[in-house]
Subunit: 249 residues, 2 copies
DNA sequence: TGCCTTTTTTGATCTGCGTCAAGGCTTGGC
DNA sequence: GCCAAGCCTTGACGCAGATCAAAAAAGGCA
């Protein structure tokens, strides 16, 4: 889910695969070893479904590379995205063997998986894995609640600005640039339709508001997906966030 | 937060205060004893603020009686409620000492509190407390995500029906009646304005839609707050949920 | 009981966003 | 190079829900 705090790679941790830090930031080497023994990789192509809501879910894992979405659909086809899964984000939940949401790969995705039951055993033997998962889940909860404000109370323009500003910051963190308040460049990982599903809008409205933000100089576009934000502070203002970006302290 | 699974009182547990089950459903007696030693009570009157976003938060705890709301405000006054705290719900988070949301008592509220740092120590010594908190947090996350669908994709009428159906079911669980699908009676714990803040609507729209549901025989009102649902299945259909109520399996 | 405040309902009007429709741009296959 | 299939943009129009306004209920408390 979109949240800066849930994600951190220590710059000196090139040898420590992202999957391990995602599962447990404080793992000692023997615990990493235990994780190592039960892990396996799965690859998915862009557009492929990783899991359907209601399916039996016999693994948990984390995204190693690529982007996936977590979404919920109503019977009549209305869809709401409830989470965006970026590298290091955790998928699945210990103690629940039925998937609650559809997970779809937006780009090619590599996941590092653990079979659920050995993972749960390990979690029970290794207290701070549960503690680490608790931290991550609390971060997800904060992100979900922040998004409730976006969905419930913001205008279409503010919604777009909120999404862009979160992606920009998340992208900056992924690439280990400081978020800063100056100019930021990134690629939009989502189609207009996916953005609409995330924001509770239609794709036409998304398109119109992006055009409007471009016309007003808040963002610059090169092609459809390559975005330049000349002034992050301006974008965050458009999003209706306070100066610190609405992120929790 | 509105979620059935996060809440359970064993019928034979009259001597086991709700606060302990809320913190740890599987506590052994000596662990309960440890919790007992660091707990204290706080009372709040209806309308009183329990904590403001940004405040230092030096306790965690659970609601023993009464109802409180968790909400987020924008600078211009727009407000989005992100959670409804009913008895047994947990407030605060280990590892974070700044409150992220406003917590306000809607009715008179009694909370069972634990100072944060002793609680965290206990959590580190007692692995399954962290595991229990993880379960509860995952339930909250599911509830938040379910609410994202309501906020992003449902019509005003469906939103009202969703809220009523969740409150009805939650109320049935609290009073240890089976949720059933027949007739249900309960008191609305929220003002129209609070409902509006929860649903991302205005209070006028809330009022109008409640009137419409009454006119259509989906609900019956006695006074402003006493609600009878003659047919829960009908209400859930109005909410746009599938027959099982949209709750996760 | 009667006054005052708060909450709720209802009406009239406005507007942001959805819906429907058409056309442009990009990419890949042949 | 041409065609087809996805994406994306833009326009015209309608409607659900917001906004503005006012009155009716429901409490509280002397």
């Amino acid at each position: 889910m979109l949240n800066e705090r849930s994600f951190s790679i220590a710059p000196d941790c090139a040898d420590c695969p992202i999957r391990h830090r995602a599962v447990c930031a404080r793992c000692e080497s023997d615990e990493l070893e235990s994780l190592e023994q039960i892990k396996y990789y799965r690859k998915f192509e862009a557009g492929q479904s990783i899991i359907w809501a209601g399916d039996r879910m016999d693994f948990v894992g984390s995204v190693v590379s690529g982007i996936a979405t977590l979404s919920q659909a109503m019977e009549d086809g209305r869809t709401q995205m409830v989470g965006l899964l970026l590298p290091s984000d955790f998928v699945g939940r210990p103690g629940r063997n039925i998937a609650a949401y559809d997970v779809v790969a937006t780009t090619d995705v590599v996941m590092c998986c653990f079979r659920r039951s050995p993972f749960e055993d390990l979690m029970h033997r290794t207290p701070h894995i549960a503690q680490r998962l608790l931290e991550m889940t609390l971060d997800e909860l904060d992100a979900a609640r922040e998004w409730m404000l976006v969905l419930g109370r913001k205008t279409a323009r503010e919604k777009i600005a909120s999404l862009l500003s979160i992606i920009a910051r998340r992208d900056a963190t992924l690439n280990m640039r400081g978020p800063g308040t100056g100019s930021v460049v990134f690629n939009l990982p989502l189609t207009r339709e996916a953005m609409a599903d995330y924001l509770g809008l239609t794709l036409e409205t998304v398109s119109r508001q992006i055009s409007a933000l471009r016309k007003d100089g808040v963002i610059e576009l090169e092609g459809k997906r390559h975005v330049t934000v000349p002034d992050m502070a301006r974008l965050m203002e458009e999003a209706g966030d306070d100066a610190d970006g609405g992120m929790l302290v």
